[in-house]
């Protein structure tokens, strides 16, 4: 039988607490070690035990930006996985299930599938003495079906479990082999997909949250405060795990109000300071966000979105907070807001956001979402030599000594940025004041001063606007279709663009990475040059579309909007383009 090589999607489903996430990352990491690319996507409810959880890994030879709908191997640790996902399987796809499990029944299901009965619990109990390791058995069986060299998986297991001791590593390898060796030749022959080793590129498999954390570490974050909130929590745990290694203080505070105020306190003293949360926590941070603005304190806030309002869909994805981030906190002040669209951008833009925060002495909001935060992508290893650290205007003790009177909030600078002093420096005293204040920070309510200070802060914004990166069209020139989006939608769009080529349609995209300040002229000019413009957003209102219309007057009539907590499938975009 002719096999499809290096183009396969593997999915495992079961209850929370069964080790599905670890098994999933082992699957994709092993594939990437073999020189392939993987994109992983997880779905889970807000539960610790039980519920329905899935981990999907799509593997290929070329870059994969998003997963599509079809699945080739479905590992079902329970009946619910079969019921919910059997329809997703391609014809000829395999269902791996445990025939000893009385609650699982595959009779009467699709006839065009390969059924692989595997006594997972029995094998796991026999080898590891722990039936919970049945996912490892299933991992072995999956890789056997794909004729994937088991030694590669063994090396990954050594790296992943090495810190837990040799015994744990060996137990995992033995259990994996138990599943691998239980597959018959006939089963392999009947299955139509296989994975072949290619030249390894040393790629990394990484989530958006980890990319943000590493970007922050590379850029010199030294204080990180947070309160756990899905889907932002793994930024906290990642930085906490590496805190001592990089001289970072991580503070898990009592609430997000404390989080933002602590981050401001640290930022005020000259430490690169950051916090991350989701919508609910961000709501609590709003007043502090404004405090950072009026006291001109650098701090980076990462808002990892999930659908709201209130608790909403806590473990699902969405882009419903763009307009909220653009308008958070009372009063008028420059709001710096940016959003990466993939893991590499998450790494680079986090570092750049810390530069902007310090150069413009301002809070900066970086927007992400669950889809970017928790999905794994395969990319070239991050390189910190690409990261430049710019700390902005800081006054020296020597300069202070030579001054008659230091004015922390000097309104006379052209770019609105006045050099900072820090506690401990002689002759540099000032008040960081949440009240409107004069040039030294004393409370001052006069009309003249209020105008001067508003304008000072606004000049910072205008200065950045004149220097900020400008958006461009990416993809084919004079394309039939131009996609306009922001954030994680990028993955599905890029996959859709690949597929559109099969229909002889050319396409390109306009990704907005900086929402505030908004690159009005560039966007206006680009949009006018396009043949057919389609807006794609993971929200109901088309919030970026509204922003573009507000800023440029250009209304994008064609909109693909999705607001069910699920990310876009590339097929949905292709179907829309072909139908309309």
């Amino acid at each position: 039988m002719m096999k499809i090589v290096n183009n396969v999607t593997w999915k495992i489903g079961g209850e929370a607490g069964e080790g599905i996430m670890v098994t999933g990352i082992l699957f994709s990491r092993a594939c990437v070690r073999a020189g392939l690319k993987a994109f992983d996507y997880t779905e889970y409810p807000s539960l610790i035990r039980g519920g329905h959880n899935t981990y999907l890994a799509q593997v290929g030879e070329e870059d994969i930006f998003s997963h599509d709908r079809s699945v080739e191997i479905l590992v079902a640790l329970n009946q619910e996985t079969i019921d919910a996902h059997v329809h997703e399987l391609s014809a000829g796809g395999a269902v791996v299930y445990d025939p000893d499990d009385k609650k699982v029944n595959v009779s009467g299901l699709r006839k065009d599938l390969v059924y692989v009965p595997l006594p997972m619990a029995k094998i796991a109990s026999e080898i590891a003495g722990n039936r919970l390791m049945r996912n490892t058995v299933a991992l072995g069986t999956s890789f056997a079906l794909l004729q994937f060299p088991k030694e590669i998986v063994h090396t990954v297991m050594k790296d992943v479990f090495g810190s837990k001791g040799k015994e744990v590593v060996q137990q995992n390898i033995d259990t994996f082999n138990g599943g691998y060796d239980s597959v018959s030749k006939q089963q392999i022959e009947r299955f139509g997909w296989k994975l072949e080793k290619r030249k390894p590129h040393g790629d990394i498999v990484i989530t958006g949250n980890d990319a943000i954390a590493i970007g922050a570490i590379a850029a010199g974050v030294k204080f990180y405060s947070a309160y756990p909130m899905t889907p932002a929590s793994s930024i906290l745990t990642y930085i906490a795990e590496h805190a001592e290694q990089y001289s970072i203080v991580v503070k898990h505070a009592e609430d997000e109000i404390s989080v933002i105020n602590m981050a401001i306190g640290a930022g005020h003293m000259g430490v690169r300071s950051m916090c991350a949360t989701s919508g609910g926590g961000f709501a609590l941070m709003n007043e502090g966000y404004g405090l950072a603005a009026i006291t001109e304190t650098p701090v980076l806030l990462v808002l990892v979105q999930r659908p709201g309002p209130a608790t909403g869909l806590p473990t699902w994805t969405g882009q419903g907070d763009l307009q909220y981030a653009l308008h958070a906190a009372q009063g008028e002040f420059p709001r710096f807001v940016l959003a990466p669209g993939d893991v590499t951008e998450a790494f680079e833009m986090t570092a750049e956001a810390m530069n902007v925060a310090e150069e413009y002495q301002s809070p900066v909001i970086l927007l992400s979402d669950k889809q970017l935060a928790e999905s794994h992508s395969t990319v070239a290893p991050f390189d910190s030599s690409t990261i430049e650290i710019r700390r902005g205007k800081r006054i020296t003790q020597k300069q202070l000594n030579a001054m008659r009177e230091y004015k922390r909030f000097d309104v006379s600078t052209k770019d609105g940025v006045s050099p900072r002093s820090f506690p401990g420096m002689k002759n540099g005293m000032y008040i960081a004041n949440s009240d409107e204040h004069d040039e030294q920070g004393f409370s001052e309510e006069s009309s003249k001063n209020a105008i001067a200070m508003f304008q000072k802060r606004q000049r910072k914004f205008e200065d950045f606007q004149s220097k900020m990166p400008q958006p461009e069209l990416h993809g084919e020139k004079n394309a039939d279709v131009t996609f306009v989006f922001w954030g994680s939608v990028k993955g599905a769009v890029r996959e859709a663009m690949k597929k559109l080529r099969e229909y002889n349609l050319t396409s390109n995209f306009l990704q907005i990475t900086w929402m505030s300040p908004f690159p009005t002229q560039a966007v206006s000019k680009l949009l006018k040059s396009c043949k057919r413009v389609v807006l794609i957003e993971n929200n109901r209102e088309g919030q970026l579309g509204n922003l573009i219309r507000q800023q440029t007057g250009f209304a994008i009539d064609e909109q693909i909007l999705k607001y069910d907590g699920r990310p876009f499938f590339p097929e949905e975009i292709v179907d829309y383009i072909n139908k309309e």
Partner: protein
């Protein structure tokens, strides 16, 4: 060495004549001098309220934060530069109402902060509403029929949260209060100085005379502040007798001492060039 004048600014207080804030303001400046600080070595973080307006009246590094949120700003600042003396000044509404969670949680960590609370049992800046420390039955513009709740007892709360330095002063006894603040500034850990003060404009119950007749000096009674349970007993005294002085003191590791990241140098002085992320990248390959 600095003198009191060094801690003064060109601004004049906007408080009502006779306000207890004058006494606290004066003693804080004196205590800073006595404890040997120069203005540039000190960061004072203020809450919002009549006490917060003191921001403009003390020469030093100041931070006028949000209502109720001074403690977390100070905690973050202290972690960033542990060599800076960080003091927090707020009021009863600010610290025991809006910011109560921060009060308890900051105490748990024992960062080296001195927290001076202007406790006048009323909201002054918003013109006379009830405060978390108002007595039950206290009539105010927001509780015309009298407060239903019992008041917060900040001293007992602090003691229950394992505070390492708990003291109470009175704005009408400047010499005593100065000594208390000096002791607090010298304490290696979190120090609370709750300062009873009259609000001459809005609180006609807890007046200067009212306090004056009730307060007594713990030290003069031979009280030794080394027993937390005895301190809680004293902290609960309110009515005929109100204790002044140090109720409890012990030495325990500070938050900063428990962070190995802060041993080598202040966090703010950590160099940012040559940060090597390759070990992190390797973990992901």
């Amino acid at each position: 060495m600095a003198i009191v004048k060094d801690f003064e600014t060109k601004r004049f207080p906007t408080w009502c004549p006779g306000c207890g804030n004058f006494g606290i303001w004066t003693t804080l400046k004196q205590a800073l001098v006595k404890a040997g600080f120069e203005p540039h070595q000190v960061l004072i973080v203020f809450g919002v309220g009549c006490s917060g307006n003191e921001t403009n009246l003390i020469h030093g590094y100041g931070f006028h934060g949000l209502h109720g949120r001074a403690l977390p700003v100070a905690h973050g600042a202290k972690i960033a530069r542990r060599n800076t003396k960080v003091i927090v000044v707020g009021g009863d509404g600010d610290g025991y109402g809006e910011g109560l969670a921060h009060f308890i949680h900051t105490i748990r960590g024992n960062p080296e902060l001195t927290y001076i609370v202007h406790d006048n049992q009323v909201y002054g800046l918003t013109k006379g509403q009830t405060s978390p420390t108002s007595e039950k039955g206290y009539k105010s513009s927001s509780t015309p029929s009298g407060v239903i709740e019992k008041p917060i007892n900040p001293l007992s709360l602090a003691l229950a949260a394992e505070a390492t330095f708990v003291a109470q002063g009175f704005s009408g006894n400047a010499a005593h209060l100065t000594d208390l603040i000096v002791k607090a500034l010298e304490h290696p850990g979190f120090s609370l100085v709750n300062v009873l003060q009259p609000c001459v404009t809005f609180n006609h119950h807890n007046t200067f005379q009212w306090f004056y007749r009730r307060v007594y000096d713990l030290a003069k009674e031979g009280y030794v502040p080394n027993d937390r349970m005895k301190a809680i007993e004293r902290a609960r005294e309110w009515g005929d007798k109100i204790p002044l002085g140090v109720l409890f003191e012990e030495v325990r590791d500070t938050y900063e001492e428990d962070l190995p990241q802060l041993v080598k140098m202040p966090l703010a002085d950590e160099p940012l060039d040559d940060i090597d992320i390759s070990p992190l990248v390797k973990e992901l390959q």
